[in-house]
Amino acid sequence: MPLTENEFRPKIVAFCCNWCSYAGADLAGSSRLSYPADVKIIKVPCSCRVNPMFILRAFEKGADGVILCGCHPGDCHYSTGNYYARRRMTLLFSMLDYLGIEKGRTRVEWVSAAEGVKFSQTMNEFVEKIKSLGENVRLGDLRCKN
């Protein structure tokens, strides 16, 4: 998609676990299933590696949305990592909602190594959602916004 002026282009950080979701993103790539360039992926070994600090940090530095992708429950490479991640993120997201941060800015999605289509779809949806929410002003360090 060519860049047009004045169009809001969100900053989106996607944490992907090495075993399923990062591979799912690779499959989306090798299958040429496009999604907006606004999404930047950070590889982590497991969804349970993602500290709420990372998510808040991303928002602080100007991210408009953060998504965490991991193996489907039951399929974690480390057996149980995504279960812990699920509880942590459930509580964190609920807290952010409680603080008045738009719910759609955070998301968890389970994407397997075989789900290139799902990865691409998820990212397309997420970008759309963030675009509809607009710029993140409630959770940012305003100095980071230019």
Partner: protein, 662 residues
Amino acid sequence: MQRIGVFVCHCGSNIAATVDVKKVVETVLSEPGVCHAEDYPYMCSEAGQMKILEAVKEKKLTGIVVCSCSPRMHEATFRKAAERAGLNPYMVEIANIREHCSWIHKDMEEATKKAVILARAAIAKVNLNTPLQAGESRVTKRALVIGGGIAGIQTALDIADAGYEVDIVEKTPSIGGRMSQLDKTFPTLDCSACILTPKMVEAAAHEKINIYTYSEVDKVTGFVGDFTVDIRKKARSVDSAKCTGCGVCQEKCPSKKSLNEFNRGLNTRSAIYTPFAQAIPNVPVIDRDACIKFKTGKCGVCEKVCQAGAIDYNQKDEIITEKYGAIVVATGFDTIKLDNYDEYAYNQSKDVITSLELERIMNAAGPTKGHLERLSDGKAPKEMVFIQCVGSRCSDNRGKSYCSKICCMYTAKHAMLIRDKYPDVNVTVFYIDVRTPGKNFDEFYRRAVEEYGVNYVKGQVGKVAPLPNGKLLVQGSDLLDNKQILKEADMVVLATAIEPEASVRQIATMLTASIDTNNFLTEAHPKLRPVESPTAGVFLSGVCQGPKDIPETVAQAGAAAVKAIGLLAKDKLTTNPCTAKPDELLCNGCSQCANVCPYGAITYEEKEVNDHGIRETRRVAQVNGALCQGCGACTVTCPSGAMDLQGFSNRQIIAEVDAICR
């Protein structure tokens, strides 16, 4: 401060057509720590790697960022190159500008911008990288094969022939699997049992192979080279050591009404049974749900008639714990349930059958002793209709989205065999496409048409309606003649889609091997590593990975064996150095991290520490590097940040976040 070199790969035009690599090079040069940047058509080539080696030497680089394909492709390559250049291999980071950038974006400006950001994130991370040393772990020289069908048998034989111990775990009372249920095999039409039985016997007789039938895998712990597996040997109620396999117990057993699984439920068997004549081991089991002795306490006929005294009603499930270096999954397939396809009247009429059921009907040991007859009235059919793609190629959630691959060939085989043995039977095959890639396959199909006069009609069937006269009205369409066809048939055979054996889900979960939406096990790479699971030490054999015919299954079984042998041949494995590491001065000793560790890698020690001059004994966490697999669960549980993950440290990830959000 690191001295970082950035190497941007064109990947031919894969990257360079969408990402302005020169611009990337130019832009990253101003990043902190970067003192060298260049691009090259193929960084992964020997010449490309030499570029890295030279730059390391000339510019005294301490860290390397390669902007290229996914780290899943070439991270290992570039780490090795770094090692050749005298750097620690873990001073390399990959910016994935192919799969995550050039391949999914079309606009060059946009893709280039993104590539720069991804490079920045990798640079920011490398700035914080520290050299890591890989540890070592031992390899148990024994393999486990889960599933005793042709895939499992072949894999086990090949591993055993290489000189390693192999255990086969098979959940049914005999090895043999689906292939033992087949009558003839394409494209040569030789008898399935004739070629399978010798393999079964060979496996049973092999001194390196140990077979656990009527057994299941209960629990798997550990990791590549060092798995610990609990195998549940289900109570057979027959002492294998004493049983002579005479078969008298089965003859005399008064409970004969259980559906015969081996014959797909088309006839019945006794409560004490061996599934088929060539079963290995030739030792029956008692089906406790059907056995009168177990249900009422009275009976005991088998015990009375057994001269060997092998019957043991008190036998209990037994758990065997064994260590393995490699695990091969060969769990095979089943046909799908047809409850979603009642338009084909499978549930309404006995004369509508699946192809696997037809195999049993055609087989001399089958429910009709090999005579082709209608199951409703025993009459010989005159008109037979085959329907292809039943449940395959369906994207409507009723069936499977994939092609089951074997149906075109076995349907041609069935049609041919019927026309050969019963020339007065007319055979019509309704097909969508006939797919016969394979050596001598299309010729085989054409023979069915040209030599045996099988009537192939292009068009799917819409409905099969049982008629009051006992026949089946097949309503199909002939797309080539643009006609709707109404055909009265005596039997209808459904080429039913295949799906992975249901138990594979549980097994995959135990092995933490990933599985796709259709329950097929995922391979480490769809083209280049097709017999390996992404989980190290776990290999895939046969249909559990995707639909396959027998020759393909055997080929893959051999390939899986080779991969397993390659692993077992090693004495030591280098372990992932990206493990958790506690900062003893920050550790509270609260044990929360140990509670979430799936490997029991964290223990606590009362240890004297020197905290800025204060010497005291504290309870602090210790990580066993050989056990830790580096998931990072502990790091988030730790409130003080004392526990960190090497290679994915808090600061490294935060640096990446900052670089992306900048």
